[in-house]
């Protein structure tokens, strides 16, 4: 106890480790900038996302006035990318949060109790993991005419499976450990053991799973836009912009390249930040 009072708390240590990781720090700053840009989009863009202000100069390449050029309908590409961050990040985050909210408890319970509970959860997982999300999304899209809620629902419905499996595997092997047996012997309830010991020990796969489900949702959105059942225009999303831009790719490269770069940078930053967070939160890497 006295040692704990003198030494910095685990959280402070984790924060220190995170700050020492240059890649994670840079990614975090980039992510923060993208989030701020998305939040304050009207303040930093020259027009609105659907204003065809420069119709006569449509398809113009990047210039001083328009950093990223104009699209085929005379709209500023930079503006649309900033507004697209709202849609893409929103879909990615919403889907990832839903995935963890469903996957973490189910995975922990299945891994800890095993037996019938595990069997039931696994059957549920099997149902969701054997139908490709894209096909289900296409069917559901045909039914609901697409749109943002459909994409988030599909991404979450299929994203939780991965989180759940990762947590389950981790919990399953962790519950063999002596400290869990000791906790059981000391009379700890299953829910206490899961909350206090097993879930914190499974946090690193949860973070990896959370981080991986953000790009997965963004990709699903992009794929659905490719098939014409994604976010409905004129609201811009990066996936949809890539798809439109691809039709002009051979002559007007800027329309496809900038949204692709935006998607890539955002996901790269998210992933590296998640990795840094994972390393910082996992005390076993402290000595290295």
């Amino acid at each position: 106890m006295t040692q704990q009072q003198m030494a910095p708390s685990p959280r402070a240590l984790a924060f220190r480790r995170l700050a020492a990781n240059r890649a994670a720090l840079v990614s975090g700053v980039i992510l923060a900038l993208i989030l701020l840009a998305a939040l304050f989009a009207p303040l930093i863009t020259p027009s609105t996302y659907d204003a065809q202000t420069w119709l006569t100069e449509a398809l113009a390449p990047p210039s001083a006035a328009h950093w990223m050029g104009l699209d085929d309908l005379g709209r500023d590409v930079f503006t649309r990318i900033v507004y697209g961050a709202r849609v893409s990040l929103g879909i990615g985050l919403a889907a990832a949060i839903c995935s963890v909210l469903i996957g973490l408890p189910l995975g922990a319970i299945a891994g800890y109790y095993g037996g019938t509970v595990d069997w039931a959860v696994m059957r549920l997982i099997e149902l969701f993991s054997v139908v490709p999300p894209l096909l289900a999304a296409m069917l559901l899209g045909a039914l609901t005419q697409g749109g943002t809620p459909t994409i988030v629902i599909i991404a979450a419905l299929f994203g939780w499976v991965q989180v759940c499996l990762l947590v389950r595997a981790q919990v399953k092997s962790a519950r063999e450990k002596d400290y869990v047996r000791a906790a059981v012997a000391l009379g700890a309830t299953p829910s206490y053991i899961i909350r206090r010991h097993l879930v914190p020990n499974a946090i690193s796969p949860v973070i990896v799973g959370f981080v991986l489900s953000i790009p997965m949702a963004m990709m699903l959105e992009a794929s659905l836009s490719f098939l014409g059942i994604g976010v409905a225009p004129p609201v811009p999303s990066w996936g949809q912009m890539i798809n439109v831009g691809m039709n002009f790719m051979y002559f007007y490269w800027h329309m496809a390249v900038f949204p692709t770069a935006a998607l890539a940078v955002t996901v790269l930053a998210t992933t590296l930040f998640g990795d840094g967070l994972r390393d910082a939160l996992d005390p076993t890497t402290k000595s290295r």
């Binding site: 990781n21 890649a23 095993g114 696994m122 059957r123 099997e126 149902l127 993991s129 054997v130 139908v131 490709p132 894209l134 096909l135 296409m138 069917l139 559901l140 045909a142 039914l143 499996l165 990762l166 595997a169 399953k172 092997s173 063999e176 690193s204 990896v208 991986l212 790009p215 963004m218 990709m219 992009a222 794929s223 490719f226 098939l227 996936g239 890539i242 691809m246 790719m249 051979y250 496809a256 692709t260 998607l263 890539a264 996901v267 790269l268 992933t271 590296l272 990795d275 994972r278 076993t284 890497t285 000595s287 290295r288």
Partner: protein, 307 residues
């Protein structure tokens, strides 16, 4: 073990039935029918006759049981968009290019990804690690149709080294295979890196070092085997996942494979083909997961003992 396999097979049947019911209902809930399109307008009388001929005028439960009865006898019906052949013949024909390209893509991409992930984990926080992570993330970030587009643009249009599209000659396979390989490679690089990092810090590795085992032996025999658990579970599903990837890759490279049928069967309400495609993929995923779990038990004695 045999009892376990039998139990799992039973659950495959259960999944198959549940999925078939859900898909069947969703499919018929979409408004419109197979003969409502504008390509070939038919008079109401003809349409009614066609619907009656195909049994589409019957109540839904009866249609479902008829179809499933056929499936039990390996009769998957006739695709409305190509009535000259059965669904099985159509799939048998279209499956070949998809399986060749997708399969080769995974078989080439997965080992490369494992090597990349190992290199990243061993040289942690160096430029190798950052490069591998950047590649892995880019591979997972950039949609496969953009990758395909870039490949065509660079190697076919600008450099003129390889043909942009088609099927038949092996040199036409190269670009689509690269496009298919990026996802398994990126996924494996990521998973291998994080699994290796997990295992490398465990005490038994220190013990092995203290015992004087060569670093190579520790890596390839002990660490890789322990890190292999998460890698094994994603292999077969990824292999089958190329089937849906084919929707994009084959559209970009004009490969006459399965891809186009996924979209067209849903768009044209080609019920028999739609149902067969989804059930086929579903069943293959079921079997893939069963095999993965068996491999899991083989690799980790702790899990085997508990069953």
């Amino acid at each position: 073990m045999i009892l376990y396999i039998l139990r799992r097979l039973l659950s495959v049947v259960f999944t198959f039935i549940v999925v078939s019911i859900i898909i069947f209902l969703m499919m018929h809930a979409v408004p419109g029918g197979p003969f409502d399109g504008n390509d070939m307008p038919v008079s109401p009388e003809v349409r009614a006759k066609l619907m009656a001929q195909l049994g589409l005028d019957k109540p839904l439960p009866e249609q479902y049981f008829r179809y499933m009865w056929g499936v039990l006898h390996l009769d998957f019906g006739v695709p409305f968009q190509s009535p000259g052949e059965t669904v099985l013949q159509l799939l048998g024909r279209a499956w070949v290019p998809s399986l060749t390209l997708g399969g080769l893509g995974v078989l080439i991409g997965a080992p490369l990804g494992i090597l990349l992930g190992m290199a990243a984990a061993l040289r942690r926080n160096t430029w190798i690690d950052y490069l591998a992570s950047a590649f892995a993330t880019l591979g997972l970030t950039i949609p496969v149709f953009v990758t395909s587009m870039l490949l065509i643009l660079i190697f076919a249009v600008w450099l003129g080294w390889l043909p942009a599209s088609g099927w038949g000659k092996p040199e036409k396979w190269i670009l689509p295979i690269i496009a298919y390989a990026t996802i398994p490679m990126a996924t494996y690089a990521r998973y291998t890196r994080s699994a290796m990092l997990d295992v490398l810090t465990r005490p038994f590795v220190t013990v092995l070092r203290a015992k004087g085992l060569s670093e190579r032996r520790i890596l390839f025999v002990h660490v890789l085997r322990n890190a292999a658990l998460p890698l094994v579970t994603v292999f077969l599903p990824m292999f089958i996942g190329t089937a849906t990837g084919s929707i994009f890759v084959e559209a970009m490279f004009r490969v006459p494979g399965l891809g186009a049928y996924f979209v067209s069967s849903i768009e044209t309400r080609d019920y028999a083909l739609e149902m067969s495609l989804i059930l086929m993929i579903t069943t293959m995923f079921c079997i893939a997961y069963l095999l993965s779990d068996l491999a899991y038990a083989l690799l980790d004695p702790r899990i085997r003992r508990r069953r």
